[in-house]
Symmetry: C2
Subunit: 173 residues, 2 copies
DNA sequence: AACGCATATTTCACCAGTGAACGAAGTATG
DNA sequence: CATACTTCGTTCACTGGTGAAATATGCGTT
């Protein structure tokens, strides 16, 4: 695949030319959106690459991590959908896959018989504990040359943008 | 779907708890990656939402934009693959779709008969000129409250991260 | 000029994610 | 207490994207 910086300079030139043709275009904002999209998906691809050897995809990994991070190691499909930003359909498949591998269990909830209780198994915990640490070095390397202030600033700006996006959301028409 | 800031605080808590259990985890870096991924894909979703009424998906839109921004309005599948970060397989389908709608044409290249020359049509240009401007307001709104320095800084940090990602890339094993 | 090798695009089979519809369980209303 | 409405999870059919092989052209060597 092509280097990220190549795509970025292509994008820069393209938007530069567009700016001259299309008056009124918010060029800087468009640039930032493209950057966000490119870097964001590249980060995800990088993650998926590290997950492939474990035969996990991104959504399964995220689901497993949420369960792992829970003090009681359990949740429900609906909640997992919400926090992984996945549709219920997909969560069903994810839960199927993880159950099949013995990393989680699915059982009926006592309080509300509509709900399903999903719980990480001891094997699931061991799996996470084993696969996670090898990822740390590359994760750190990604931010090589970033000062503490840089990281803080990046976090601040991304959260600010996220707030704007939430506020913006309603656009069904 | 669930608000972005909800997912973010979930993620913050989750990584917070993880940091206590998993010693040596680069928590801040992990947080930034998750943020990048979430905000990036949210931006893409926002774009796709705006494209849906025009019956375009993200890749088709990007392809069309590249062609539009070219002085001569033309390119080749290979080049488009490179700059859209799409596989050749997909580019074939994209070109099929855009050709069918009369927005581009496909013809043999004169210099290298292996190559295919893709060119935006006048109808394609009109289409872009019509669909683009209505997107500007929301695009600007996304960065409401961002100072010029904020935008500059966000751009700088994303580009820096992109460079690191390129440098990092080789990890096939 | 004929052979093998490299490159560009397409075709095919498959995978992950999505929207619509369904059945089961709960909740509210007359 | 019966009927309608809601919520939760699953199933199914479809879309967008990917990897491996097929096809076609060009390039370099002998």
């Amino acid at each position: 695949m092509s280097r990220l910086s190549t795509c970025i300079s292509m994008m820069d030139e393209g938007i530069g030319r567009m700016g001259q043709i299309m008056p009124g275009m918010p060029g800087e904002e468009a640039r930032l959106c493209r950057l966000l999209a490119m870097v964001g998906s590249h980060v995800l691809e990088e993650l998926e690459r590290k997950l492939k050897p474990h035969k996990l995809n991104h959504s399964e990994f995220l689901t497993l991590m949420i369960l792992y991070s829970r003090p009681d190691g359990s949740s429900t499909p609906g909640e997992l959908c919400e926090f992984t930003s996945q549709g219920a359909t997909n969560m069903t498949r994810i839960a199927n896959a993880l159950t099949q591998r013995g990393l989680i269990t699915r059982g009926a909830s006592r309080e509300d018989r509509r709900r399903v209780q999903i719980r990480i198994t001891p094997a699931g915990r061991r799996f996470v504990q084993k696969m996670l640490p090898p990822m740390f070095p590359r994760l750190s390397a990604m931010y090589e040359g970033f000062t503490a202030a840089d990281k803080r600033e990046l976090g601040r700006l991304l959260r600010k943008l996220a707030d704007n996006l939430d506020r913006l959301e309603p656009l069904p028409p």
